[in-house]
């Protein structure tokens, strides 16, 4: 069985994976990860967990050619504004690492797959999320 790569990736039993946000019922700000107090409006106990959408638009990116030893390059580090709110960062895959091929605001979908074969020290495998252009 695979584990989620981050706490905000949910793998419900018998259901589809999704990304979870925490939305402030007072001001509408959406956060990744649980919290008690809203850092925008300071409301307490106003957080509600929500299911984030699996589609969004590319907000910004960088094409990474040098990373730490053992990390395969190049890859596209992408910041995506999800439809309906929430911003997440991840790899944009199946896209040429060429700025001429990457357009701001291009529609992308969130897909869930094995975490590039990476395993932890106990040999567990992980499920991660990726972005893929919707053509």
């Amino acid at each position: 069985m695979s584990l989620p790569v981050v706490e905000y990736l949910k793998l419900p039993e018998g259901g589809e994976p999704y990304l979870e946000g925490h939305k402030c019922s007072e001001c509408g700000s959406i956060f990744l990860g649980e919290r008690n107090v809203c850092s925008n409006c300071f409301a307490r106990d106003s957080m509600q967990s929500i299911k984030l959408n699996n589609t969004g638009k590319l907000y910004s990116y960088s094409i990474v050619f040098r990373s730490f030893p053992g990390i395969e390059v190049p890859y596209i580090s992408a910041i995506v504004d999800l439809d309906g709110g929430g911003t997440v960062k991840g790899n944009l895959i199946d896209c040429e690492p060429d700025p001429d091929k990457i357009n701001f605001d291009m529609p992308v979908e969130v897909i869930f797959d094995d975490a590039l074969g990476r395993k932890d020290k106990d040999g567990n495998s992980y499920i991660s999320y990726f972005f893929k252009q919707i053509t």
């Binding site: 790569v5 981050v6 990744l32 094409i63 990474v64 050619f65 960062k89």
Partner: protein
Amino acid sequence: MSDVYVLGVDMIKFGRFPDRTVPDLGAEAALLALDDAGLNIGNMEAFYCGNLGQANAMVGQRILQEIGQTGIPVVNCSNACATGATAFREAWTSIKAGLYDVVLAVGVEQMGTGLLGGSGSGSGIPKEGLLGSGTMPAVFAEAGMEHARQYGTTFEQFAKISVKNHHHSTMNPKARYQIETPLDEVMNAEMISYPNTKLMCSVNVDGAAAAVLVSEKKAKELGMQRAVRIKASVMTSDPYQERDLVMPDVNSCTRKAASEAYEMAGLDSSDVDLVELHDCFATAEMLHYENLGLCDDGEAGRLIDEGEVELGGRIPVNVSGGLLSKGHPLGATGIANIYEVCTHLRGEAGERQVENAKIGMTHVIGLGSACGIHILEKV
């Protein structure tokens, strides 16, 4: 409240000193600043020390063990790349508060090699290259590409910033490098994180800088000839922004700090004769032209295209060579840029002197985030 003055300030030439220690580098800068002020450690009433790499290792006290243990209060500060500016500002605050008349501030750093940043593995598996990149070149590339999406800023425009700062550093003997880097060389250098090539990333170096700050009373007593007045000292943290959790924001904390600094100084950006700003990456410098009000939003690309930010231009930026070529020893940077501005206000900057400089601004950003801005005035 008394105005506060910089009476002595200096930095060591930035470089690589693997055989020396952090306190040793800090001590050298402290002695240079004390000599510049015509004072000695026995005259200091308090000492604020900035260092990041050994933040838990009492660097300030170890500096005093090398230059004189007088029993004064020592505060060790760590605030990412705003560490030096934080130490300087704490010294300023203590004089403003009327606690002391003569205070020492030192920023010092010994750097490792290679990339900074990276999304730490935490529990589970490493996230770098899986959930995008947390390396500093990538994070600041993404911040630059946000500008590109808004205003169409080009790779070439970002690269020109590096050409400019490397050119400036050829006139600064204390910079790490004194080497011209033509545009094609910058653009064809190894791509680290598009659009930042290797020559568009700040240089990892060791370094130290120090300043002696005094009250107005003390400045008058010791002589005002080379004193520099601190017109504004401001720090901010990052106000809430909706993309904070995935995109560290260096813009809103800088804008907030700049507007507070101009207000404190009773000045606006048109009064400023030179700026030393936080060019940790070429993409970052572009953002700060607008954040500091050196031009209107969307005009930053034009500013670099038309040479307004070069030595001799309307508002020279990073005539020291900046972090891109002078080097970026994290904890020292915030005092080294104060040294640069003071040197111009004193008319002692030699070949790179900004003519008739009366007002200068320094700016640093520590990601996470902390922004420090100082406005300095020729007396």
